[in-house]
């Protein structure tokens, strides 16, 4: 959606009263009027909480008494006391562990989901009996609420009665070992979200013209060449949008860690888990808000990198 209003500001109303405004300007005005309710709603439900979060990130405040906040500037981020004790969350090693784990989680889960999603999309895009049934069935893991599927996987990983922990691995406790747990979590996310990725890629595949492939067949191009030289480049826009969506989701991941590892461990496994611990368990409204602002900035930065580096177009 593009609004050209800034480029062509509507002429000052009193001066141009005699002349009817250009058709483009009136369209732009209609667009703004139609968008106004939405914009107001966004300001109310997103803008205000965002403002409060940024406001509290510069305060020392307690969750149970948000009214008694004192301004401390950037001390929630970085502050060293006279005794040399670092109080800012950027000085907390646990935060950096959480950042590292979130990045590992994002990179590997999104990569695997893209590869598997592509394979599944290519399969269900070809014509075979029961294709429409498969397309519906593959969405089941995605349709199950994450809290439910995460708990289900936690049971499956259990070392004394779990299908995987006891049955497949003979009593290994995957979730007990932090260095292995992250891979167990990636497996859960891949299981759950690959179908969503496949769906997005499938939508892209279906927009590709069929006669192009017929022509390529006539010219004797192999299926492999067709995939690399035609499908993949044409699929690029759809693929990139899917990648951006999934990366942002993965960076904000919370429920898988929280359900499967518990509040304390989740705080060193995901950035949002850390934010929740500061904000809720520790009641540090100021620090928690500062962490949330940091997460917001990190995600913003990654979006900007994506959009500029790959020239993603959203319109």
């Amino acid at each position: 959606m593009t609004i050209n209003a800034p480029a062509k500001p509507p002429a000052a109303p009193p001066a141009s009263r005699k002349r009817s405004p250009g058709i483009e300007a009136s369209r732009a005005r209609t667009a703004i009027i139609l968008l106004l309710p939405t914009l107001i709603a966004i300001v109310l439900v997103a803008g205000f909480p965002l403002y409060r979060t940024i406001f509290f990130s510069a305060q020392e405040a307690n969750l149970t008494t948000p009214g008694q906040a004192t301004f401390i500037g950037l001390e929630n981020f970085w502050f060293t006391t006279a005794e040399g004790i670092g109080l800012g969350f950027l000085q907390d090693p646990q935060w950096w562990t959480a950042v590292r784990n979130t990045l590992i989680f994002t990179v590997f889960s999104v990569f695997l989901e893209t590869v598997f999603g592509m394979i599944i999309a290519l399969v269900v895009n070809s014509a075979f009996a029961g294709r429409s049934f498969l397309r519906t069935a593959m969405l089941i893991p995605w349709a199950i609420p994450t809290v439910v599927s995460a708990q289900m996987w936690a049971y499956m990983y259990n070392d004394s009665f779990g299908l995987i922990g006891q049955g497949l691995l003979g009593g290994q406790a995957l979730l007990a070992d932090p260095s292995k747990a992250i891979w167990a979590l990636i497996a859960v996310d891949v299981w759950k979200t690959t179908s969503f990725m496949a769906l997005l890629i499938l939508a892209g595949l279906q927009s590709l013209p069929g006669d192009m492939y017929e022509a390529a067949d006539m010219d004797g191009a192999s299926k492999w060449t067709q995939f690399w030289r035609m499908t993949l480049p044409l699929l690029r826009p759809a693929l990139l949008v899917a990648l951006v969506f999934r990366s942002l989701d993965a960076l904000r991941v919370f429920d898988i860690m929280y359900v499967m590892l518990g509040a304390n461990v989740a705080a060193s496994t995901s950035m949002t888990g850390y934010a929740r611990q500061q904000l809720i368990d520790n009641q540090l409204l100021g620090t928690g808000s500062a962490v949330s602002v940091a997460i917001f900035i990190i995600i913003m930065a990654i979006v900007v990198v994506y959009v500029t580096a790959f020239r993603v177009k959203f319109d």
Binding site: T64, T65, Q172, L175, N282, Q283
Partner: protein
């Protein structure tokens, strides 16, 4: 229009007066074991007696999750819940949101409870909550297996426990590959803080932070306690013990897959229920000693009335009823929930249902409190740091000596400008 409003008001007034002052009170109950059912039953008895109605709010299972939810409701001054079930470590944290029960409940009734618990419920002279049931860590063991492997009594020290658990485990593993020697709450959460505090105190390692607020964790005995616990993982305890809470440990013990278990008293009644595979084969003893006597962490739940409640009088009456001797007796008999009234420990019906109550009265009365008093609002952070350090030692990431040293630094960081 005016007529209509007047009519509606009149009808409402008549309806209200005809029911005297019957109101609906919302009670937040815990859901561990049979807690929820007992909570509902107790509330129903009060409702029947007074003509009021009680709505039961089901709280999350883990105490950390519960606190998060409650704090949000209280910070928003929500009147959705009238009576909250408060963990013994919360009064200092939440005192400002609760009605002072002192003066509203007769002094004689308050004094009938354990003094230590009333003290923990009192913040700056304000009685934040009334004791509902108390808890202390206990050692559960399989009497049949002890006999089978030639033991006549429960272990007195942790070393003894490890030896016995190992022998039983090795023997039982031949028939049952998932059998474990000892299960406890090893997951990184508040429960681990409770378990580890018991190890610490029994080894003479202090209580993390002492009563004056001084950080005391960096000592050799504390390090030894952590290393000892770490040596159990994968030898007498399953590797997954570091992911178990109360209910996971109980599940394994109750299905006959463990020789020893550390848990709270509530596990007794469930272990004796008809669907339990170990019914009639359970013994209960004080937790073993590490050389400095045995120690049990004080737990327990209390009932407080929210300041934002619209029906405070009815809510206080509900609290008085639920904490009464009559109700605590029912809960002790049916659910093995420890009364907070010393008199009930001499009651024949209570002792018949829980034979160990009389002999373990010492354990309950001398239980060790977590450092929630001296660390005040920062208790949760202290507990997290402590549980995290213990968890790292148990996972083999670090050794006890290094862990307590790092923990001292972390705690200093949390203490910051003061508790």
């Amino acid at each position: 229009m005016k007529k209509a409003i007047a009519l509606v008001t009149l009808t409402a007034a008549i309806a209200a007066s005809s029911q005297a002052d019957a109101v609906q009170v919302t009670l937040a109950c815990g859901t561990v074991g049979q807690e929820l059912q007992l909570c509902k039953d107790g509330a129903a008895r009060w409702a029947k007696k007074t003509g009021n109605t009680v709505k039961v709010f089901e709280s999350p299972n883990l105490t950390n999750d519960r606190l998060g939810l409650y704090q949000q409701q209280l910070a928003a001054k929500s009147d959705a819940i009238d009576v909250y079930q408060l963990d013994i470590i919360w009064p200092g944290l939440l005192s400002q949101h609760f009605v002072d029960l002192k003066g509203k409940i007769p002094a004689a009734e308050v004094n009938a409870h354990f003094k230590s618990i009333i003290a923990a419920d009192t913040v700056d002279g304000k009685l934040v909550a009334m004791p509902w049931f108390t808890d202390a860590g206990l050692l559960y063991y399989r009497t049949d297996l002890l006999k089978k492997y030639g033991y006549s009594a429960a272990p007195k020290t942790w070393t003894e426990l490890a030896t016995m658990a190992k022998k039983i485990q090795d023997g039982e593993k031949k028939a049952n590959s998932t059998f474990a020697g000892f299960v406890f709450q090893g997951k990184n959460y508040e429960g681990l803080t409770c378990d580890a505090l018991e190890w610490l105190v029994s080894f003479g390692g202090g209580t993390i932070v002492d009563d004056s607020g001084k950080i005391t964790i960096n000592n050799a005995n504390a390090a030894k306690a952590m290393d000892t616990a770490a040596s159990w993982v994968k030898s007498i305890s399953p590797a997954g013990v570091t992911t178990y809470g109360e209910e996971e440990a109980r599940g394994i013990f109750q299905s006959g897959n463990a020789a020893f278990m550390r848990n709270w008293p509530y596990a007794w009644a469930l272990g004796q229920s008809d669907d339990s595979k170990v019914k009639g084969k359970i013994g209960v003893a004080p937790l073993p000693s590490g050389g400095n006597g045995n120690a049990a962490t004080l737990g327990g739940w209390n009932l407080g009335v929210s300041m934002y409640s619209k029906n405070q009088a009815a809510a206080i009456d509900l609290v008085r009823y639920l904490t009464s001797a009559e109700e605590q007796k029912i809960r002790a008999v049916e659910g093995a929930y420890n009364p907070t009234r010393p008199a009930l420990y001499k009651d024949q019906a209570v002792l018949k249902a829980n034979p160990f109550f009389g002999s373990l009265l010492d354990v309950f009365t001398s239980a060790v409190a977590r450092p929630s008093g001296p660390t005040k609002l920062k208790y949760n952070q202290v507990s997290q740091a402590f549980a995290g350090a213990v968890s790292d030692v148990m996972a083999g990431k670090t050794k006890g000596e290094a862990a307590v040293k790092k923990l001292e630094t972390d705690l200093a960081r949390i203490k910051g400008r003061g508790w």
